[in-house]
């Protein structure tokens, strides 16, 4: 829990709390803005050591007022999917029609042109806000972190063939050789 406190007694401290906020990966968008805040599927952070971590959702510090704004925004958002009927094999040599969701639009119920349809879903079904754990579900972002680690490892060696940092194949071979060397050393 953090708070912004002023020495002026007329100002009331705004208490904020860390939340993990986002939209499910199966949702209608990879990011939605609600009450002026971003709710992505994932976000990432580059740590001081250069490693990039990817987390599910986004960690936000929110006040009660912020939460109220988000609540108003989310309860007015409606999801409408566009479906496509695809013929897929039924396993007996025939075809069966399967309805697939291909894209979604997000409507605001407050708009004068919004007309409800039977298939409309509340956006709230796809949104989550929960207390943020310390590490907020952080997992290493394999591609960029690996690349950063490889470049760092390469820069620490004297191997001249690594002078071209764009050559991923050489780096890959070098990484493999290095791992093998470590393994042999341990044995």
């Amino acid at each position: 829990m953090s708070s912004a406190v002023s020495s002026n007694p007329e100002f009331v401290a705004v208490k904020k709390k860390r939340y993990l906020c986002g939209i499910n990966a199966a949702g209608p968008a990879h990011n939605v803005s609600l009450g002026g805040f971003s709710f992505p599927v994932t976000s990432s952070e580059t740590r001081a050591d250069g490693a990039e971590i990817q987390r599910t959702g986004n960690v936000l510090e929110l006040s009660v007022e912020d939460l109220k704004k988000i609540q108003i925004s989310v309860e007015n958002r409606i999801v409408r999917w566009t479906n496509k009927v695809e013929q897929t094999p039924d396993g007996r040599g025939g075809l069966v029609p399967v309805i697939k969701r291909i894209r979604a639009s997000i409507y605001d119920k407050r708009s004068s042109w919004y007309r409800p349809e039977e298939t409309d879903e509340p956006l709230a079904d796809y949104i989550y806000i929960e207390d943020a754990p310390e590490e907020a579900k952080a997992v290493p972002n394999s591609l960029k972190t690996r690349l950063a680690q490889e470049i760092e490892a390469a820069s620490k060696t004297e191997i001249a063939m690594l002078s071209d940092p764009k050559d991923a194949k050489i780096r890959e071979e070098h990484g493999r050789a290095k791992k093998l060397g470590q393994k042999l050393g341990e044995e």
Binding site: S33, E45, V59
Partner: protein, 325 residues
């Protein structure tokens, strides 16, 4: 395999007056799109890594007798993969010969202009971060780890050095006054953006060289009034328009691809655009018929197909602001 169903066009004596019913009327919005998206960046790999340096350090006072102040700066990079984009159309040669409208092949060729619309469709997918099984499988985050529009960077700091980043809470779109208030708030936000060494990012002159405003087509009346009205027809009287009076050059872009009340402001003169397209392989077309295809000789089917390899990415989006209503 899907095939053209030409049965309605084979009826003898059918007339062709309405054959253009679904002729392509959308030719793309290239002129508007170029202001907000870089098109056709070269690519020569399966995916491209784009590095950039953060701001260079500011000069500091150097007290006599002390070592010269030194500072470094850091670099970042982001990865943009290329994807294949394609469409093929098959039809039976008999249908082409018997088509009373003589337009089957012409309509099939219209698919090429639909392919030309791809960058615009992707631009709006990036803008709205929409799930679309026909387009990008995932909408990428910006290089700072946050979504295209966000209040904070991935590390939780105020994005671009200012509270609310490039995602502002709007006042709604019910009145022209509300829109104008939010527009000036966006302009003020651009001016307040800071580089990574806490100095102003945009010169005011660049901002005054014009902005593009993108909004849902259903809100067109109120946006046109907010940005273009300077005359009241009924009373034949001039009316003050705070945007026109300030000589702001505004390009309005209404689109049915935005379905809610959110809207977007882009700086036209920004040297780097927020969205871009990279081209690994330009569009190529192929025609299959009995002269060149075993499949055609076996089935009497003809085929037109187009394919290309493009990647689409989001660069650091400090030239774009979203008004979230």
């Amino acid at each position: 395999m899907a095939q053209v169903n030409a049965v309605e066009a084979l009826i003898r004596g059918a007339r062709s007056e309405f054959v253009d019913t679904y002729a392509n009327m959308i030719k793309g919005s290239d002129e508007k799109l170029k202001k907000v998206m870089d098109l056709g960046l070269p690519s020569d790999k399966a995916s491209e890594i784009y590095p950039y340096f953060e701001s260079s350090p500011n000069a500091k006072r150097w007290p006599r007798g002390e070592p010269i102040p030194t500072a470094g700066f850091t670099s970042k990079s982001f990865l943009v993969p290329n994807y294949d984009w394609a469409i093929a159309i098959d039809w039976h040669e008999n249908d082409e010969q018997d088509d009373q409208t003589r337009s089957l092949v012409t309509r099939a060729r219209d698919a090429a202009t639909k392919l030309a619309l791809l960058p615009e469709r992707i631009f709006f997918q990036l803008l709205t971060a929409g799930t679309d099984g026909d387009l990008l499988p995932t909408v990428p985050n910006a290089p700072d780890g946050s979504a295209f529009f966000a209040t904070t960077s991935g590390s939780g700091a105020n994005r671009f050095g200012v509270a609310n980043g490039n995602l502002l809470t709007g006042s709604g779109v019910a009145t022209t006054a509300a829109i104008q208030t939010d527009f000036w708030a966006a302009i003020a936000q651009f001016v307040r953006f800071l580089d990574t060494d806490s100095q102003p990012l945009w010169p005011a002159e660049l901002i005054s060289r014009g902005v593009t405003i993108i909004y849902g087509a259903a809100n067109n009346q109120v946006f046109a009034q907010a940005f273009q009205q300077n005359f009241v027809q009924a009373t034949n009287a001039a009316t003050s328009n705070v945007v026109l009076d300030a000589d702001m050059k505004v390009t309005l872009w209404q689109t049915p691809r935005i379905t809610d009340n959110d809207w977007f402001v882009f700086l036209n003169a920004a040297p780097t655009k927020a969205c871009f397209q990279q081209v690994r392989q330009p569009v190529r077309d192929n025609m299959e018929d009995m002269l060149n295809s075993d499949n055609s000789r076996r089935t009497k089917n003809k085929r037109l197909q187009w394919d290309a390899r493009f990647g689409f990415g989001v660069a650091l989006p400090f030239q774009a602001i979203k008004i979230n209503n």
